[in-house]
C-alpha cells in the first residue's frame, strides 16, 4: 500500500480534484483581480446540489450510472447559480471600490453560504452521506484505484480539454484572454467585458461542481464545511501554478496533491520526523509548500510575464 506508484496515483487523483476547483480561483483572478474566497463554498453548494438530485428528486434506488450525469447537472446548476448571483449582487456593485472591499465581501459571503446550508439544508447540521458507485476497486498492476475515483479519472482530463478548447479556440475565449490582459482595450475591440466576467464566474463554478461530485464520490460524505479547507488547498494550487494561468491551476493542483500524498506517506521515515507523517499533518505540508512557493517563486510554476514595454 505504501509503494511509490500507488502514492503517485493517489496524489494525481487528489491533485486533479484540487486543480478542478483551482480553475475557478485563477479564472476570476485573471479577469477581475479578485481572490474569490467564496469559491470554496460555491464548490460546497455544488456538492449539495448533486446530493439534492439523488436524494430528493430521483426515485429511490436509481442506478448510479443513470443518476451520476443528472447529479453532475444538478451540481453545476446550483454552483453556477450561486456564483453568478454572487457576481451580480455582491461583487459587481464593488467593481470600482478599493480592492479590500470585494475581498472582505468574499469572506463574508463564504461564511453566509456555509451558515445558510447549515441552517436550511435538511439534516446538514452533521455530515450527510453521498451516494457511491457500487463495485470493487480496480487494479492496474500494483496500483489500486477506488471505484469513486473513476469519475475523477475521466472527468478531470475531459474538463481540461474542454476548457483549453474554449479559451484558445472560441471567440468568447479570445475575448476572455483580451479582458484579462487589458479590459478597457478589450471593450474597444467590441468585447462585452461584463458578460466575460459573468462567464468566468460561471465556468469556474462549473469546474468546481465537477470537483464537488468527485469529492462526494471520493470521501462518501459531505458537510457545510467541506469548502473551507478544500478551497484553501485549491487556492494554494492556483498560486502554485501561477495565479491567472488556467493550465497552471491544474498543474499546481497535481503538484500539490502529489506533494501532500508523498509527505504523508514518507516523511515519517525520516529519523526524528516520525510523528509528522500522519494524515492529520497533510494540510500542514500542503501549506508549507504554499509558503515555500511564495518565498522562492511568487509568480508560481507557470507564472510568466512577457515584458510589457512602455
Amino acid at each position: 500500500m505504501n509503494a511509490l506508484p500507488q502514492q503517485l496515483v493517489n496524489g494525481l487523483l487528489l491533485g486533479s480534484m484540487y486543480g478542478l476547483v483551482a480553475i475557478g480561483y485563477t479564472m476570476v483572478y485573471g479577469i477581475v483581480q479578485l481572490i474569490n474566497f467564496a469559491h470554496g463554498e460555491i464548490f460546497m453548494t455544488g456538492a449539495f446540489g448533486a446530493l439534492t438530485v439523488y436524494v430528493y428528486i430521483l426515485p429511490n434506488g436509481t442506478s448510479m450510472w443513470v443518476a451520476l450525469p443528472l447529479m453532475l447537472i444538478g451540481a453545476i446548476l446550483v454552483a453556477v447559480l450561486v456564483a453568478v448571483g454572487a457576481e451580480r449582487f455582491a461583487y459587481r456593485p464593488l467593481r470600482n471600490a478599493p480592492r479590500l472591499a470585494p475581498l472582505i465581501t468574499a469572506i463574508g459571503l463564504s461564511l453566509a453560504l456555509q451558515q445558510a446550508v447549515w441552517a436550511w439544508y435538511p439534516d446538514a447540521k452533521s455530515a450527510r452521506t453521498f451516494p457511491q458507485i457500487s463495485g470493487g476497486p480496480f487494479h492496474i498492476g500494483s496500483v489500486t484505484i477506488q471505484t469513486g475515483d473513476i469519475f475523477l479519472l475521466v472527468a478531470a482530463p475531459i474538463s481540461m480539454a474542454v476548457l483549453g478548447y474554449f479559451v484558445m479556440k472560441t471567440r468568447t475565449g479570445r475575448g476572455m484572454q483580451a479582458t484579462a490582459q487589458d479590459p478597457d482595450t478589450a471593450k474597444l475591440m467590441g468585447v462585452n467585458t461584463d458578460r466575460i466576467i459573468v462567464i468566468a464566474f460561471a465556468l469556474g463554478a462549473t469546474f468546481a461542481a465537477v470537483g464537488a461530485v468527485a469529492y462526494g464520490l471520493k470521501y462518501g460524505q459531505i458537510d457545510f464545511r467541506i469548502g473551507f479547507i478544500l478551497g484553501l488547498k485549491a487556492f494554494t494550487a492556483a498560486v502554485l501554478g501561477g495565479i491567472g494561468n488556467i493550465y497552471g491551476a491544474m498543474i499546481g493542483g497535481v503538484v500539490l496533491g502529489i506533494a501532500e500524498t508523498l509527505a504523508t506517506a514518507y516523511i515519517s521515515n525520516i529519523p526524528g520526523m516520525g510523528k509528522f507523517g500522519s494524515q492529520s499533518w497533510a494540510d500542514v505540508w500542503a501549506f508549507v509548500l504554499l509558503i515555500l512557493v511564495l518565498l522562492f517563486r511568487p509568480q508560481g510554476l507557470l507564472g510568466e510575464r512577457v515584458a510589457d514595454r512602455a
Partner: protein, 238 residues
C-alpha cells in the same frame, strides 16, 4: 452633406473636475482632423468619451446619424468607430496575429478578415515577419504599428489615433506619420490627437487647438500651421 462625426458642446468630468468643458467640432468623411494641445488639454479624454470608455456629463455626439450616448463602449466599434488608444495598449501576451484578429472581434466574414490581416502586413511588413511572436516583445514603434493595424481590422468609418508618435524615435515617428498620410490618401477618415503639432497639422485638413478643456482655435491644417500664436505655443518658435 452631414458630417460623419458631430460633437456638440461635449462636457466630460472626472468627479467634480471638468476635463472637457463644452467643445464642438466635426469630422467629414474622407478628411483628417487633428486635435492638438499640451498635456492635460482634454484630447485623450475626448477620444475616450467618443469610444464610450467615459460617459459625458453633457452635450451631443452624433456619429453617422446616430447618437453615441446610448451605446456602451463594446458596441461603438461595431458602428464603425475604431480607437487606437494612447500608449498603444496592445495585448502583450498574445501573438501579433491574434492581436490583429481581436481587432476584428465582431466580424464573422472569415475570408474578409484574412484579407485584412494580409493588408495590415502589407502596410507594416515587420508585423508579418513576426506574426507568431508575442506582441509584448515588439519595440515601441512596432507596437504602434500593431495598434493601428488592429484598429483598422474593424473596417472603421472613422479611425481615431491617440498620440501615435508618443515616445518614438524620430525615424519611427516619420514612418508612422507617413503611414497616416498613406491611409489618408486611400480615403480613410481619421481623427488624430497629437502633441507633435507640426507633423499633425501638415497632414490634417482641419485642426483644433485645445487648452484646458476648451477649443481655443480652429482652422484648416495649413492655416493653423502658419498661425502666429500656434507657432509660438506649439511649434517652439519665438
Amino acid at each position: 452633406m452631414t458630417a460623419l462625426l458631430e460633437v456638440e458642446d461635449l462636457r466630460v468630468a472626472y468627479g467634480k473636475i471638468e476635463a472637457v468643458k463644452g467643445i464642438s467640432f466635426k469630422v467629414d468623411a474622407g478628411e483628417v482632423v487633428t486635435l492638438i494641445g499640451t498635456n492635460g488639454a482634454g484630447k485623450t479624454t475626448t477620444l475616450r468619451t467618443l469610444s464610450g470608455l467615459l460617459k459625458p456629463v453633457g452635450g451631443q455626439i452624433k456619429f453617422n446619424g446616430k447618437s453615441l450616448k446610448k451605446f456602451p463602449a463594446h458596441q461603438i466599434v461595431s458602428l464603425g468607430l475604431a480607437h487606437s488608444p494612447e500608449g498603444r495598449h496592445i495585448f502583450p501576451r498574445m501573438t501579433i496575429e491574434d492581436n490583429l484578429r481581436l481587432g476584428a472581434f465582431l466580424r464573422s466574414d472569415k475570408p474578409g478578415i484574412e484579407q485584412d490581416i494580409q493588408r495590415a502586413y502589407d502596410l507594416f511588413p515587420i508585423l508579418g515577419e513576426r506574426r507568431k511572436q508575442a506582441a509584448g516583445t515588439l519595440s515601441g514603434g512596432e507596437q504602434q504599428m500593431l495598434a493601428m493595424g488592429r484598429a483598422l481590422m474593424s473596417q472603421p468609418k472613422l479611425l481615431m489615433l491617440d498620440e501615435p508618435s508618443m515616445g518614438l524615435s524620430p525615424i519611427m515617428m516619420q514612418k508612422i506619420m507617413a503611414t497616416i498620410a498613406q491611409l489618408k490618401s486611400q480615403g480613410t477618415t481619421i481623427l488624430l490627437v497629437e502633441q507633435n503639432a507640426q507633423a499633425a497639422l501638415s497632414l490634417a485638413d482641419h485642426g483644433h487647438v485645445m487648452e484646458v478643456g476648451t477649443i481655443v482655435l480652429s482652422g484648416t491644417g495649413q492655416d493653423l500651421l502658419h498661425d502666429e500664436s500656434v507657432r509660438k505655443a506649439y511649434l517652439g518658435e519665438d
